[in-house]
Symmetry: C2
Subunit: 359 residues, 2 copies
Amino acid sequence: NPVDKGVDYAQYFCTYAFLYHQKEMLSDRVRMDAYFNAIFENKHHFNGKTVLDVGTGSGILAIWSAQAGARKVYAVEATKMSEHARSLVRANNLQNIVEVIEGSMEEITLPEKVDVIISEWMGYFLLRESMFDSVICARDRWLKPTGVMYPSHARMWMAPIRTGIGDHKMGDYQSAMDDWHNFVDETKTYYGVDMSTLTKPFSEEQRKYYLQTSLWSNLHPHQVIGTAAIIKEIDCLTATVNDIEKVRSKFSLSITMDNMLCGFGGWFDVHFRGRGEDPAEQEIELTTAPSVDCGTHWGQQVFLLHPPTHVNEGDNLTISFLMSRSKENHRLMEVELGCEIQQHSGKLLAPSKHKYYIE
Amino acid sequence: NPVDKGVDYAQYFCTYAFLYHQKEMLSDRVRMDAYFNAIFENKHHFNGKTVLDVGTGSGILAIWSAQAGARKVYAVEATKMSEHARSLVRANNLQNIVEVIEGSMEEITLPEKVDVIISEWMGYFLLRESMFDSVICARDRWLKPTGVMYPSHARMWMAPIRTGIGDHKMGDYQSAMDDWHNFVDETKTYYGVDMSTLTKPFSEEQRKYYLQTSLWSNLHPHQVIGTAAIIKEIDCLTATVNDIEKVRSKFSLSITMDNMLCGFGGWFDVHFRGRGEDPAEQEIELTTAPSVDCGTHWGQQVFLLHPPTHVNEGDNLTISFLMSRSKENHRLMEVELGCEIQQHSGKLLAPSKHKYYIE
Ligand SMILES: Nc1ncnc2c1ncn2[C@@H]1O[C@H](CSCC[C@H](N)C(=O)O)[C@@H](O)[C@H]1O
Ligand SMILES: Nc1ncnc2c1ncn2[C@@H]1O[C@H](CSCC[C@H](N)C(=O)O)[C@@H](O)[C@H]1O
């Protein structure tokens, strides 16, 4: 494992040590309602049971598990947020049930195996942050053979969209380049140095920044101009790191209205279904799909197409999708997306290939 | 040395690998003019000489040194920006003079000692980034006994200021806290968890963020309401890491107009004076003081006082100043500032103590 712990802390964990950041998650009502209902409408999974909360943050899921009747809850948190979790547990008088353990899930040891693993491990577009790796590790080491995963299933989705944001970004990119050309001129005039050889790498850098980095967005359902497809399904009880390290998928999307195809929206959902032989009484869904309501803090990730293409109802897109982890930072992702458009008439347009970064 | 290289790269160097960031520095006309004039108005220091550019970035100072007649320039850069520097050197046809070396100054080896060390190592309020350590290291290993430092001297300054930004920040802080109280109520009501025990640590976190973190600002001279004092003078030829690791100073500031004292502005200047026995022909100054002109990308750092105090012309402030490096990141700073106000009448007000973070 070539991941440098110190670097990982500096780049990833550190933000979770801020109450401000935990509060943002705790203020996401869609997220909170889903976990709250998953727990309290399925008390039989918690009552008298031992629970492990992977990445407890403020401690909220551990506290709910205890309130739902757990006998013992192990609440593991890598950052100093553990101290706040501990004081929250005490303030809610659950210190005899919830044990907060500061440490990384991969390194700590529990005194026993558990009946339930609960975790809120989902990043943008599900897999950003690669935190599910830690849940897999916890599951393989600490879940009883009869144990239940909360959530139990996860899916990645993608749909064709229209959006004005691409034009904005193109404008930003173009003014960055105008600025650059000015800069090159001035540097030559005033300081006698010809910078024009850097124009190409600068434009690549800016293109990556403005056009190839996926964008957080809260899409309205009206912006979705075709069918949504499932890219990937994960059974949290059986998935391995190998299954999620690279996500490769080929799927088709049908255009359902004449419109400009400006890009693709990506999102996820997770379900709390319990375990085959020990199912949930109430299945709960947490979806981050485009919604007329307020949405979630995850929003959707938008992958822009430049320039947008005109598409018509009945056109069919064949998408080949490959998401892998960035070499520099295993918690960030790179996406290669191939798109073939077959028009309603049967005519095939020239296929296109695109590269994106989920930063 | 307890600094983790990987972490240091992830937290510090990585930003310098972007042309966008180098361009920001290259577009700072005050900075550019100072170095340009320092070199070209003191060609005798460069003509036929060997030069070391510590942290060459885009290569600009190395290229100028070569254009001013250097026999050989070693241009050392820790990041992949070295590749752009190399292509810029080639595009300006100086590849026979400028040798770009990718590596950290502390680790690379030169084939010879040099006559001049040039570097643009200054961070916000001079010492943020702690890059002067690398210049000291380069000087002690590679500068000839008769060698010259560019720049040769540096100073830190502080002055009492008025500003409306403190009220803004106080407003931001207060609305963050209002929001928090709402959040605590809602979490109790909807989710049955009492978060009030986290109110104190949250308020400390937000206070630190909004009120105790020094602010980048481009102050107008009118905002300076008293005399400016020198906190620290550095002779770049003789300073040691020990001299700059902690900056401790006691100085006084006289109020020159009746006004609200809202805080302090901190800035720096550097001079290019050559060496005692081998002085510059034209001394050049680079100052980042509050200015009516466009200012520099460094701006000034503002340390806010809460609440502001009314002061009058003739009042005298005694400041005890201590700046040290943050334990978590040696390139960031913490400032302890004690302030005693003696009114014109002779009356002493209660002294106050303040803690700031330069992030
Ligand atoms: N390998 C690991 N070991 C321990 N904690 C981890 C971890 N990976 C991520 N975390 C922690 O997991 C948390 C994810 S955010 C979710 C916080 C909380 N469970 C809630 O639902 O509100 C962060 O606080 C992060 O620091
Ligand atoms: N110890 C070290 N070794 C090598 N390069 C370093 C260094 N510390 C900082 N740097 C580099 O020093 C540069 C400082 S910014 C100045 C860039 C350039 N000299 C100019 O004046 O425009 C950055 O590119 C940074 O990556």
